[in-house]
Amino acid sequence: MTRVGPEPISAEAALRAVADPACGGVAVFLGVVRDADAGRKVTAIEYEAYPDMARGVLDGIERDLRKAHPVKGVVLEHRTGRLAVGEASVVVAVSSPHRAEAFAACREGIERIKAELPVWKKEFGRGGAVWKEEKALRPARRRRKTRVSPRKAR
Protein backbone atom coordinates (compact mmCIF):
# COMPACT_ATOMS: atom_id res chain seq x y z
CA MET A 1 0.00 0.00 0.00
CA THR A 2 1.37 3.37 -0.94
CA ARG A 3 0.30 6.96 -0.29
CA VAL A 4 1.55 10.48 -0.92
CA GLY A 5 -0.46 13.29 0.62
CA PRO A 6 -1.16 15.53 3.59
CA GLU A 7 -2.73 12.91 5.86
CA PRO A 8 -0.81 12.38 9.13
CA ILE A 9 1.31 9.24 9.27
CA SER A 10 0.41 6.59 11.83
CA ALA A 11 2.96 3.93 12.66
CA GLU A 12 0.21 1.91 14.34
CA ALA A 13 -1.95 1.99 11.23
CA ALA A 14 1.03 0.94 9.08
CA LEU A 15 1.79 -1.95 11.43
CA ARG A 16 -1.84 -3.07 11.35
CA ALA A 17 -1.83 -2.90 7.55
CA VAL A 18 1.19 -5.20 7.17
CA ALA A 19 0.18 -7.71 9.87
CA ASP A 20 -0.04 -11.24 8.49
CA PRO A 21 -0.39 -14.54 10.33
CA ALA A 22 2.42 -16.04 8.21
CA CYS A 23 4.83 -13.30 9.23
CA GLY A 24 6.99 -13.46 12.32
CA GLY A 25 8.99 -10.37 11.47
CA VAL A 26 7.71 -6.83 11.09
CA ALA A 27 10.03 -3.88 10.50
CA VAL A 28 8.98 -0.26 10.49
CA PHE A 29 11.00 2.86 9.74
CA LEU A 30 9.71 6.32 10.57
CA GLY A 31 11.37 9.45 9.26
CA VAL A 32 10.73 12.28 11.70
CA VAL A 33 11.36 16.03 11.52
CA ARG A 34 14.54 16.90 13.45
CA ASP A 35 15.10 20.09 15.43
CA ALA A 36 18.42 20.93 13.76
CA ASP A 37 20.26 20.48 10.49
CA ALA A 38 24.01 21.05 10.09
CA GLY A 39 24.02 23.11 13.27
CA ARG A 40 21.05 25.26 12.27
CA LYS A 41 17.94 25.22 14.43
CA VAL A 42 14.92 23.88 12.55
CA THR A 43 11.36 24.62 13.61
CA ALA A 44 9.39 23.02 10.79
CA ILE A 45 9.75 21.40 7.39
CA GLU A 46 7.46 21.80 4.44
CA TYR A 47 7.31 18.88 2.00
CA GLU A 48 6.29 19.47 -1.58
CA ALA A 49 5.66 16.57 -3.96
CA TYR A 50 5.06 15.97 -7.63
CA PRO A 51 2.17 13.82 -6.47
CA ASP A 52 1.27 11.81 -9.56
CA MET A 53 4.86 10.86 -10.28
CA ALA A 54 5.61 10.21 -6.60
CA ARG A 55 2.73 7.73 -6.39
CA GLY A 56 4.07 5.89 -9.44
CA VAL A 57 7.57 5.79 -7.95
CA LEU A 58 6.27 4.37 -4.65
CA ASP A 59 4.21 1.74 -6.48
CA GLY A 60 7.34 0.76 -8.44
CA ILE A 61 9.38 0.45 -5.25
CA GLU A 62 6.66 -1.72 -3.69
CA ARG A 63 6.68 -4.00 -6.74
CA ASP A 64 10.47 -4.29 -6.61
CA LEU A 65 10.49 -5.04 -2.87
CA ARG A 66 7.95 -7.80 -3.41
CA LYS A 67 10.08 -9.29 -6.20
CA ALA A 68 13.34 -9.10 -4.30
CA HIS A 69 12.23 -10.13 -0.81
CA PRO A 70 9.71 -12.63 0.60
CA VAL A 71 7.55 -9.88 2.10
CA LYS A 72 3.80 -10.15 2.64
CA GLY A 73 2.75 -6.67 3.73
CA VAL A 74 4.32 -3.46 2.42
CA VAL A 75 3.38 0.11 3.38
CA LEU A 76 5.21 3.09 1.84
CA GLU A 77 3.85 6.55 2.67
CA HIS A 78 5.20 10.08 2.38
CA ARG A 79 3.43 13.03 3.91
CA THR A 80 3.26 16.48 2.30
CA GLY A 81 2.69 19.94 3.73
CA ARG A 82 4.19 21.71 6.73
CA LEU A 83 5.28 19.48 9.61
CA ALA A 84 6.49 20.42 13.08
CA VAL A 85 9.52 18.93 14.83
CA GLY A 86 8.69 15.39 15.92
CA GLU A 87 6.08 14.73 13.26
CA ALA A 88 6.65 11.81 10.89
CA SER A 89 7.15 12.60 7.21
CA VAL A 90 7.70 9.08 5.92
CA VAL A 91 6.93 5.52 6.96
CA VAL A 92 8.10 2.20 5.57
CA ALA A 93 6.59 -0.94 7.11
CA VAL A 94 7.06 -4.50 5.92
CA SER A 95 6.23 -7.95 7.20
CA SER A 96 7.93 -11.22 6.29
CA PRO A 97 8.21 -14.71 7.73
CA HIS A 98 11.57 -13.91 9.36
CA ARG A 99 13.36 -10.81 10.61
CA ALA A 100 16.33 -10.68 8.20
CA GLU A 101 14.12 -10.14 5.17
CA ALA A 102 11.99 -7.60 7.04
CA PHE A 103 15.03 -5.49 7.98
CA ALA A 104 16.50 -5.77 4.47
CA ALA A 105 13.30 -4.81 2.68
CA CYS A 106 12.59 -1.93 5.06
CA ARG A 107 16.10 -0.53 4.58
CA GLU A 108 15.91 -0.87 0.82
CA GLY A 109 12.51 0.83 0.81
CA ILE A 110 13.62 3.93 2.69
CA GLU A 111 16.91 4.26 0.79
CA ARG A 112 15.09 4.16 -2.54
CA ILE A 113 12.46 6.65 -1.35
CA LYS A 114 15.22 9.07 -0.33
CA ALA A 115 16.94 8.79 -3.71
CA GLU A 116 14.06 8.46 -6.15
CA LEU A 117 10.93 10.12 -4.78
CA PRO A 118 10.14 13.54 -6.29
CA VAL A 119 9.51 15.21 -2.92
CA TRP A 120 11.37 18.32 -1.80
CA LYS A 121 11.82 19.81 1.64
CA LYS A 122 11.97 23.39 2.76
CA GLU A 123 13.43 23.91 6.21
CA PHE A 124 12.13 26.68 8.40
CA GLY A 125 14.48 27.96 11.05
CA ARG A 126 16.64 30.82 12.15
CA GLY A 127 17.15 33.19 9.25
CA GLY A 128 14.11 32.06 7.29
CA ALA A 129 13.38 29.14 5.01
CA VAL A 130 15.69 27.22 2.69
CA TRP A 131 15.06 24.51 0.14
CA LYS A 132 17.30 21.51 0.79
CA GLU A 133 18.35 20.50 -2.71
CA GLU A 134 21.47 18.41 -2.52
CA LYS A 135 21.36 15.22 -4.54
CA ALA A 136 20.26 14.79 -8.13
CA LEU A 137 17.08 12.77 -8.24
CA ARG A 138 17.93 9.22 -9.23
CA PRO A 139 15.80 7.90 -12.08
CA ALA A 140 13.54 5.11 -10.90
CA ARG A 141 15.16 1.78 -11.65
CA ARG A 142 14.08 0.29 -14.91
CA ARG A 143 12.16 -2.88 -14.24
CA ARG A 144 13.62 -5.84 -16.06
CA LYS A 145 11.45 -8.64 -17.29
CA THR A 146 13.98 -11.27 -16.38
CA ARG A 147 14.88 -10.52 -12.78
CA VAL A 148 14.55 -13.93 -11.17
CA SER A 149 17.11 -14.08 -8.39
CA PRO A 150 16.43 -11.89 -5.39
CA ARG A 151 18.91 -9.09 -4.91
CA LYS A 152 21.19 -9.36 -1.94
CA ALA A 153 20.24 -7.25 1.02
CA ARG A 154 22.64 -4.37 1.46
Binding site: G31, E48, Y50, D52, M53, G56, E111, K114, A115, L117, P118, V119, W120, K121, K122, W131, K132, E133, E134, K135, A136, L137, P139, A140
Partner: protein, 84 residues
Protein backbone atom coordinates in the same frame (compact mmCIF):
# COMPACT_ATOMS: atom_id res chain seq x y z
CA UNK B 1 -2.57 21.45 -27.47
CA UNK B 2 0.83 22.44 -26.19
CA UNK B 3 3.49 21.23 -23.79
CA UNK B 4 2.63 21.51 -20.12
CA UNK B 5 5.68 22.50 -18.04
CA UNK B 6 5.76 21.96 -14.25
CA UNK B 7 8.12 23.59 -11.74
CA UNK B 8 8.75 22.57 -8.13
CA UNK B 9 10.49 23.78 -4.99
CA UNK B 10 13.20 26.43 -5.58
CA UNK B 11 12.55 26.45 -9.31
CA UNK B 12 8.86 27.27 -8.80
CA UNK B 13 9.89 30.08 -6.44
CA UNK B 14 12.32 31.51 -9.01
CA UNK B 15 9.91 31.16 -11.92
CA UNK B 16 7.09 32.56 -9.76
CA UNK B 17 4.95 29.90 -11.38
CA UNK B 18 4.23 26.25 -10.83
CA UNK B 19 3.00 25.55 -14.30
CA UNK B 20 3.11 27.05 -17.77
CA UNK B 21 2.38 26.00 -21.30
CA UNK B 22 4.86 26.12 -24.15
CA UNK B 23 4.34 25.67 -27.87
CA UNK B 24 6.79 23.12 -29.27
CA UNK B 25 9.14 24.44 -31.93
CA UNK B 26 8.31 21.96 -34.66
CA UNK B 27 9.62 18.42 -35.03
CA UNK B 28 12.81 17.60 -33.22
CA UNK B 29 12.03 19.83 -30.23
CA UNK B 30 13.82 18.28 -27.27
CA UNK B 31 14.02 18.56 -23.50
CA UNK B 32 17.39 20.29 -23.93
CA UNK B 33 15.90 22.85 -26.33
CA UNK B 34 13.00 23.47 -23.95
CA UNK B 35 15.47 23.97 -21.08
CA UNK B 36 17.47 26.52 -23.10
CA UNK B 37 14.34 28.35 -24.18
CA UNK B 38 12.96 28.60 -20.62
CA UNK B 39 16.29 29.85 -19.28
CA UNK B 40 16.29 32.52 -21.98
CA UNK B 41 12.66 33.55 -21.54
CA UNK B 42 12.78 33.54 -17.71
CA UNK B 43 16.12 35.14 -16.80
CA UNK B 44 15.80 34.14 -13.14
CA UNK B 45 16.06 30.50 -14.27
CA UNK B 46 19.33 31.06 -16.12
CA UNK B 47 21.79 28.33 -15.13
CA UNK B 48 19.26 26.65 -12.85
CA UNK B 49 17.46 24.10 -15.01
CA UNK B 50 20.66 22.24 -15.85
CA UNK B 51 20.80 21.10 -12.22
CA UNK B 52 17.33 19.61 -12.48
CA UNK B 53 16.35 16.20 -13.74
CA UNK B 54 13.63 16.32 -16.36
CA UNK B 55 10.63 14.01 -16.42
CA UNK B 56 8.43 13.62 -19.47
CA UNK B 57 5.05 12.18 -18.61
CA UNK B 58 6.50 11.25 -15.20
CA UNK B 59 9.52 9.30 -16.44
CA UNK B 60 13.00 10.77 -16.01
CA UNK B 61 14.62 11.31 -19.42
CA UNK B 62 17.77 12.83 -20.90
CA UNK B 63 18.19 16.16 -22.68
CA UNK B 64 17.93 14.49 -26.07
CA UNK B 65 14.39 13.21 -25.45
CA UNK B 66 11.90 14.49 -28.02
CA UNK B 67 8.78 16.45 -27.08
CA UNK B 68 5.39 16.61 -28.68
CA UNK B 69 2.11 18.37 -28.11
CA UNK B 70 0.32 17.10 -25.01
CA UNK B 71 3.50 16.09 -23.15
CA UNK B 72 3.91 17.01 -19.49
CA UNK B 73 7.48 18.05 -18.71
CA UNK B 74 8.53 18.46 -15.10
CA UNK B 75 11.84 19.99 -13.99
CA UNK B 76 12.85 18.18 -10.80
CA UNK B 77 15.39 19.91 -8.56
CA UNK B 78 17.85 17.82 -6.54
CA UNK B 79 16.27 16.22 -3.49
CA UNK B 80 17.45 16.34 0.09
CA UNK B 81 18.56 12.71 0.17
CA UNK B 82 19.51 12.93 3.82
CA UNK B 83 22.22 11.04 5.64
CA UNK B 84 21.83 7.31 6.01
Amino acid sequence: MSIRVLFFASIADLARAREMSVEPEGDGFTVGALRRRLEKDIPRLAGKLGKCAAAVNQAVVGAEAGLKNGDEVAFLPPVSGGTA
